[in-house]
């Protein structure tokens, strides 16, 4: 059976009234834990095979940039000194997510890539973006290693690669994943047709890309030989409307016409955090139903 997964973020809605009351009463209320629980439970309920913690703790840049000494968090992270990794902010979340999973459901841990962090930061210390990205990569390697001890897969997100590909991109990823023993994934959203032949050279087990919004990507990917399993985006993450099972099945059939089933995985194009929770849930449910209909 072709596995299904998510790219990372999942939206959740909490009961603001309950948290407001706890605030006024001076009581404790653990909204981050409830957010994580709701996100994980939703993915499990939808039937996804490899779930994430939902990345409910915050923005995918800030959560990692804030883990470094040498960064001052302003509207964007400002790098003012030598970067030093200060410890994982999300490893405990992975353990919490793991405790919620029924048998057979697997967990992926996600790290935002060093190039994306470097481009999202204001650099006031390093000589170049490359130097900054490498400094981030050294710290992120510790983060990835910590996650790798808890999860079944470690995924690196480098959305910036499709905007501006760095020639040293592979070196960065090798550094980040240097201490990871479990299978690894690279997610790059956007149009990767211009760089796909470079990405297949990476030492990762899965490549995950945006095919639902960019079906023309098949023109490139279909003709390239590569060793990795391909994570095919089969639902859009930029439209707040769930696709039908039939529509998704059509996208899956296109994938199967181009690649062997054993080398495929299905996922949304990107994280779902900007969608209504009900829509995000419907997308995941329909994705799983479409995959099941293929059997």
């Amino acid at each position: 059976m072709i596995p299904t997964t998510v790219i990372g973020s999942f939206p959740v809605r909490l009961d603001g009234g309950r948290y407001a009351q706890a605030y006024f009463d001076g009581g404790a209320a653990d909204a981050p834990s409830e957010s994580l629980r709701l996100a994980v439970e939703a993915q499990v309920e939808a039937g996804v095979d490899i779930v994430s913690d939902g990345q409910t703790r915050g923005d995918f840049v800030r959560i990692f940039a804030a883990s470094f000494r040498g960064v001052v968090m302003q509207e964007r992270p400002v790098v003012v000194g030598e970067l030093e990794y200060a410890g994982s902010r999300i490893a405990a979340d992975q353990e919490a997510a793991r405790s919620l999973l029924p048998k057979g459901v697997m967990l992926k841990g996600i790290v935002t890539g060093p190039y994306t962090l470097a481009k999202a930061s204001e650099n006031r210390h390093y000589r170049s973006v490359e130097d900054l990205a490498y400094a981030y990569a050294v710290g992120l390697a510790k983060e990835a290693e910590a996650l790798g001890d808890v999860v079944d897969y470690v995924q690196v997100d480098e959305p910036f690669y499709s905007v501006e590909y760095p020639e040293y991109g592979r070196m960065l990823l090798d550094e980040v994943l240097s201490g990871v023993d479990c299978p690894t994934m690279l997610h790059v959203c956007g149009d990767v047709s211009g760089i796909f032949e470079r990405l297949v050279e990476y030492d990762v087990d899965f490549l995950e890309h945006e095919f639902a919004a960019n079906p023309k990507l098949w023109d490139t990917v279909g003709d390239v030989d590569f060793k990795q399993t391909l994570g095919v985006g089969v639902v859009r993450s930029d439209e707040n409307k769930a696709e039908t099972v039939k529509e998704i099945e059509g996208r899956m059939m296109t994938a199967l016409s181009r690649k062997d089933a054993g080398r495929l995985m299905f996922n949304p194009d990107c994280g779902l955090r900007n969608l209504d929770p009900e829509v995000a849930m419907a997308k995941l449910r329909n994705m799983v139903a479409a995959r099941d209909a293929l059997k």
Binding site: P11, V12, R13, L14, D15, G16, G17, Y19, A20, Q21, A22, Y23, F24, D25, G26, A29, A31, P32, S35, T56, R57, G58, D59, R62, M73, E75, D276, P277
Partner: protein, 310 residues
């Protein structure tokens, strides 16, 4: 000392001015009445005490030049009429209505629309507990101003606090809308931002750091109730039992931090603290105004403690 590139709105309500560049206007102090151990039982004696405290805050405000507002706490619907009638009878100035219960907040503005007074009402607060009933009441019986509470239990960083204002952070009853848009859509034109004091261990420092960030980002009057951080501190609670004077000093000092970081208003706790808080904040206001005038060329308002208290 701060000065902001972003234009700073000045909100005026019943002659009280909130906001502007630091040093331009004195900090507005909200003293809470009908709340706390002195008001556990709302009997005739309590109402008499409230009237005396209301007068006391007006007196110390007049003496110092630091504006005072009553923050009128209403525990439940059954108290709305008598409390509101007492306040309307005791002060001609603006006041805020405050309750942890959204139904009571809504009921209070409904009552104020009947008896008059919405034009001097600050609604404290629009927060993540907003209900559809409350929103409907705000649209029908719109108060002159509202405090918007930037408390976000999912993320207590400054970014998280801003997120509840901008997007609702997945917790506001109008999906996809932040509290700022909700308030504007309800027709409330005068907005004060409360950064949402949190206790130690819950990114408490972000309560103060959010003030200059919010002023820089939104240009709106910003403040907080930092005394809540102090009051929730276990060590301080213990000290208070042993040494009330030491606690009172710490309370006055805590409140005076707000103008130092650029804050425009403070919900400073029980109005009975006015005699210690007003002088302390007057000192901070004078310091900030002197710096703002000398360094940034800010024009200090007349009646500011800077000019009045020599």
């Amino acid at each position: 000392m701060y000065s902001f590139m972003k234009e700073q709105a000045v909100v005026e309500l019943g002659g009280v001015r909130f906001g502007g560049q630091p040093g331009e206007n004195p900090t507005v102090l909200f003293g809470t009445v009908f709340y706390g151990r002195d008001f556990r039982e709302l009997n005739d004696e309590a109402y008499g005490r409230a009237r005396r405290l209301i007068q006391d805050q007006e007196d110390v405000s007049r003496e110092t030049g630091v504006p005072g507002l009553l923050d009128v706490y209403i525990k439940s619907d059954s108290h709305i009429k008598r409390i509101v009638d007492t306040v309307l009878d005791s002060t001609d100035g603006p006041f805020s209505i405050d309750s942890s219960d959204p139904g009571t907040r809504a009921g209070t503005i409904r009552y104020l629309s009947e008896v008059g007074g919405l034009d001097r009402t600050v609604y404290n607060s629009v927060n993540l507990g907003l209900t559809a009933e409350e929103l409907d009441a705000l649209r029908r019986h719109t108060p002159a101003a509202a405090v918007v509470l930037a408390y976000n239990p999912r993320d207590m960083s400054v970014d998280g606090r801003a997120d509840i204002l901008d997007t609702g952070a997945g917790m506001v009853c109008v999906p996809g809308k932040g509290l700022l848009d909700v308030v504007k859509d309800a027709g409330i034109g005068k907005i004060l931002l409360d950064t949402g004091a949190t206790p130690f261990g819950s990114m408490s420092a972000e309560t103060l750091r959010a003030i200059p960030v919010f002023k820089g980002r939104y240009g709106l009057p910003s403040g907080c109730s930092i005394h809540n951080t102090l009051e929730s501190w276990a060590w301080m609670k213990d000290l208070r039992r042993k040494d009330e004077v030491a606690y009172n000093c710490a309370d006055a000092a805590a409140n005076s931090l707000v103008p130092i970081v650029g804050g425009d208003f403070i919900v400073y706790g029980p109005v009975s603290a006015c005699r210690r808080v007003f002088p302390s904040v007057a000192f901070a206001d004078k310091l900030v105004a002197e710096g703002a005038r000398d360094y940034f060329g800010v024009k200090v308002s007349k009646d500011h403690p800077y000019t009045r208290l020599i």
